[in-house]
């Protein structure tokens, strides 16, 4: 138990440091005084060594002239706003005694700041901070310049039909993209920050009266418990708030598409947007969500249903095809039609490895290729994929290392795994196919069914923010099957998913739903 003691010591050290830091922050929460020099000295002390902070001293044209100072972050600001809306009006001949600072500054966003800590934070957030002589407060002016990546088509969740907008790395823009789709005051956005040092902004979105208050409360309580120095992407946040870490199944969904977020909100889910991350988190996320894509709803329902069924089948192909091939060819030859078996026997003649090893090698090679293709610069990537395809496809067969049928099996697995719309879902099949392979190689079909049983038992034990992971399959809610394996026509989906939404379940009035299928007379 020696190993257990050491981290505890380290923990104590860490706690000490944290306390020190907390104290510093508390100091910063001290209110600003009306002493201009003291305020400036304090802020200067805080920004000691931060060369990206610039300041500008000037005098407000009052009688007598009052010294004032601007603090700002270099490079994030719109100079014209600072010049024309802050400095110009203040230095201009404004004699009116009654006019306060808010009346003079013609920037669109102006907030009063009372404490030192807030003031520092505002500067770091990219606001312009204005400190005026004999004022026990400061003003933060929004003069941000739009220096953002353009809203572009999402890279990961492509659709054939549907909006081409994707989230970007700026929280405000992302919120706009969502708000644009849900112009209702019931869309509540709760902004907060996380990370002691990174102070990352994040926003919790939900539709009031639709989202389950329990889920919302759970999201808040989990976010409140986070105590971390910094968060770089929503992926990190996801791992801090998920229900169960020791599982390959993701319990938090993510999306790059604002239309996905809006649709999820309409279904009663809660979305968490993190600044600097183009991926929004969506909770609760159940297993079958990973097989649904947003253009399922944009295409007509026959096609969507067909594609969904195909995805379900292919998910099993991606998961099980190498394992089934190994199990059937090494344990259950009698299952293979004779003509196919004779071909298989001939194809395998001379392959030196047992089928399990052969399958494992090929799958590993394929995974390696996939990873290499992901990391390599675009210009080299193509060359690698050609070489890889040739090596895996042809040379390995010609050299007698693998049988041609194994190449087909591996290719089928690869293609099938790409049909899963959610990347985090595809990853699950990529990981789990290896344990299945081992089970198949040692115990045959019996092993596969055993492994499947274990996984199903595991799945039933999972929850995503309190919602059972297998719902609506288990616990079964038949009314939610309208949007599960098939997608029924849009007019017939008059209800929100009952296992997620609470409160207002009605999407369409039933009368509309009834009118729709009438025939023209």
């Amino acid at each position: 138990m020696r190993t257990a003691r050491k981290p505890r010591k380290a923990l104590k050290l860490w706690e000490k440091k944290a306390q020190e830091l907390e104290k510093q922050v508390q100091d910063q929460q001290s209110p600003l005084s009306d002493d201009f020099q003291a305020n400036c000295a304090m802020i200067d002390a805080v920004f000691q060594g931060c060369d990206d902070i610039s300041k500008r001293d000037f005098h407000i044209a009052q009688d007598p002239p009052r010294p004032a100072r601007l603090y700002m972050l270099k490079g994030t600001l719109d100079k014209t706003i600072i010049n024309d809306s802050i400095i110009a009006p203040l230095t201009a001949a404004v004699k009116a005694r009654g006019a306060g600072v808010p009346d003079l500054i013609s920037a669109h966003m102006l907030t009063e700041v009372a404490t030192l800590g807030e003031a520092v934070q505002e500067v770091l957030n990219g606001q312009v901070l204005l400190i005026i002589h004999r004022q026990a407060r400061a003003w933060s002016v929004n003069a941000k310049a739009a220096r953002l990546r353009a809203v572009a088509e999402p890279e990961t969740q492509k659709v054939v039909r549907g909006p081409r907008e994707g989230l970007i790395e700026d929280l405000e823009t992302n919120l706009t993209l969502v708000r644009k789709r849900l112009k209702t005051p019931t869309l509540k956005i709760d902004c907060r920050s996380v990370g002691r040092r990174s102070n990352t902004q994040l926003a919790i979105l939900h539709l009031e009266g639709v989202a389950d208050p329990k889920v919302l409360a759970e999201v808040h309580s989990r976010l409140n418990k986070i105590d971390i120095d910094g968060i770089m992407d929503s992926g990190e946040l996801e791992q801090l708030i998920e229900d169960n870490t020791m599982t390959v199944f993701p319990q938090v969904g993510n999306t790059e598409r604002p239309d996905n977020i809006a649709a999820a909100l309409l279904n009663g889910r809660v979305a968490i947007l993190v600044d600097n991350s183009p991926f929004a988190l969506i909770v609760p996320n159940v297993l079958t969500d990973m097989l649904q894509s947003s253009d399922d709803y944009y295409e007509r329902f026959q096609f969507s249903s067909l594609i969904r069924i195909l995805r379900y089948v292919l998910a099993f192909v991606a998961l099980l095809s190498p394992a089934l091939y190994v199990a059937i060819t090494t344990f259950h030859h009698e299952m293979i039609p004779t003509d196919l078996l004779t071909n298989l026997v001939r194809a395998r003649a001379g392959v030196p490895f047992p089928t399990v090893i052969e399958a494992g090698l090929m799958e590993l090679a394929f995974e390696a290729l996939r990873e290499a293709g992901l990391r390599l610069p675009k210009a080299v990537g193509q060359a690698v994929s050609i070489v890889g395809a040739l090596i895996i496809g042809q040379a390995a067969v010609e050299a007698g290392l693998v049988s041609p049928i194994m190449v087909i099996v591996v290719a089928a697995t690869g293609i099938a795994s790409f049909t899963i719309p959610a990347f985090n879902g595809a990853v699950v099949t990529r990981m789990l196919k290896f344990p299945f392979l081992v089970a198949a190689g040692t115990l045959g079909l019996y092993g596969i069914s055993l492994a499947l049983a274990i996984i199903i038992i595991h799945l039933t034990s999972l929850r995503s923010f309190g919602v059972p992971y297998l719902s609506p399959l288990a616990p079964i809610t038949i009314s939610d099957w309208k949007d599960l394996i098939v997608r029924i026509p849009t007019w017939a989906m008059y209800q929100r998913p009952t296992f997620i939404a609470k409160g207002d379940l009605q999407r369409q009035s039933k009368s509309t739903a009834g009118i729709q299928p009438q025939k023209m007379k």
Binding site: F331, E334, G441, G444
Partner: protein, 395 residues
């Protein structure tokens, strides 16, 4: 920690099974065709098998040591045979001859030699029925001659003989002159007192083919499936010809299409027939038993030699003639059953279904009663159309 350790132990346990019953495909000796004969040297059995030649297609069929080897043309399979006192003994004796593990799962055609069939195939049935690896859906064929001799014949179109035989069997409904039951059907009929089992008949056909127009003629031997082997209990009783087999198929309600050639004055008209329904019924209370067969068939004119135009009255006449001919055809098969004193048509089971009490009385001396059984045949034949033309091509 503990759970991780336990999990690790469980994972380490998995390979301990050593994959004990796993067989890699290349270690498999796949038996495709199984032939059973009497042992020419003793009173046991001789088993002949076709084993898939892994190097298939390229290597010439190497000779099996005991089996006299494959002919030049068989390259995808090896022919092996072995003798033994019992069938299991014989099949075990094969194991010494081939590397790899024998698998009988894919035997789909079982051949039985004539000698053995005449002697009785009860031990064979027991072996086939009892073995886990033999599928009861495989076809049962009796060879005129020995099974081994048939298995040495080269396939003509397919790569392997078993594929060719299966093809022949599966298309039998096209001409109805052959019928091959599955093993399960044979076993079921064998254990039923009201019907005698039948099996397909395989014969060797020798014909001459000129390989090239000028070269010498060459003899080609091939296996064809035609007719039927009729069993009484487990012993081969006799053969049915192709035409008699048509009657058999129609009477038991498994008729396919057939071509009936109707003589018409000096010409011949061929009609393609297919049965619509066939009902074999016991006329209640009749003693000796009488049966009524009512057959409905439809057909179309396929071709004719001559020069006539089909008119409705002529068609009606033709229908009557064809119905008569079909009736005669069925009657011939019935006669054959009576002659053989073998109830392969299942008259007995018809009685037992319709009048179980009567059958209890008849069951014991059924064989003697059989020759007194009468059959009335009633055929209803409809000529649907005369093909796509009504009148022949003329100049």
């Amino acid at each position: 920690m503990k759970t991780v350790a336990v999990l690790l132990l469980i994972i380490m346990l998995l390979p301990l099974s050593g994959c004990w019953d796993s067989v890699e495909l290349d270690q498999l000796a796949l038996v495709l065709l199984l032939g059973i004969d009497t042992d020419p040297m003793g009173d046991g059995f001789e088993v002949t098998v076709h084993v898939l030649n892994v190097a298939g297609g390229t290597a010439s069929g190497a000779a099996g040591t005991g089996g006299g080897g494959g002919s030049k043309n068989i390259s995808q399979t090896l022919t092996l045979s072995a003798r033994g006192q019992t069938l299991s003994d014989a099949t075990r004796n094969l194991r010494g001859r081939v590397q790899g593990r024998f698998s009988f799962h894919h035997v789909r055609v079982v051949l039985i030699g004539e000698d053995l069939a005449r002697k009785g195939i009860k031990p064979v049935l027991d072996f086939l029925f009892r073995a886990q690896e033999i599928r009861l859906t495989s076809y049962l064929l009796v060879c005129q001659g020995t099974a081994r001799e048939k298995m040495l014949l080269a396939p003509e179109i397919s790569g392997t003989l078993d594929e060719e035989l299966r093809g022949l069997i599966e298309m039998q409904g096209e001409w109805s002159k052959a019928y091959t039951p599955r093993l399960l059907e044979f076993c079921a009929n064998y254990s039923d007192s009201g019907i005698q089992p039948v099996a397909g008949r395989i014969i060797k056909l020798t014909y001459r083919t000129p390989v090239q127009p000028d070269s010498n003629e060459q003899q080609t031997k091939t296996a064809i499936i035609e007719g039927l082997a009729v069993f009484r209990d487990d012993q081969l009783r006799g053969w049915l010809t192709g035409t008699e087999t048509i009657g058999f198929r129609y009477l038991i309600g498994k008729g396919g299409t057939m071509v009936l050639v109707v003589p018409w004055h000096a010409a011949k008209i061929s009609i393609e027939l297919s049965p619509e329904s066939c009902n074999l019924q016991y006329i209640a209370g009749s003693n000796p038993p009488r049966f009524k067969v009512s057959l409905a068939a439809i057909g179309q004119v396929m071709d004719y030699t001559g020069d006539i135009e089909f008119t409705p009255p002529l068609l009606a006449e033709l229908e009557a003639l064809a119905a008569d001919m079909l009736g005669d055809l069925l009657l011939k098969t019935v006669e054959k059953a009576r002659e053989m004193e073998t109830d392969f048509l299942g008259y007995g089971s018809v009685i037992s279904r319709q009048d179980p009490r009567q059958w209890q009385a008849l069951n014991k001396k059924w064989r003697e009663t059989l020759h007194a059984v009468g059959t009335d045949i009633e055929v209803k034949f409809t000529l649907r159309h005369t093909g796509v033309t009504r009148s022949p091509l003329t100049r």
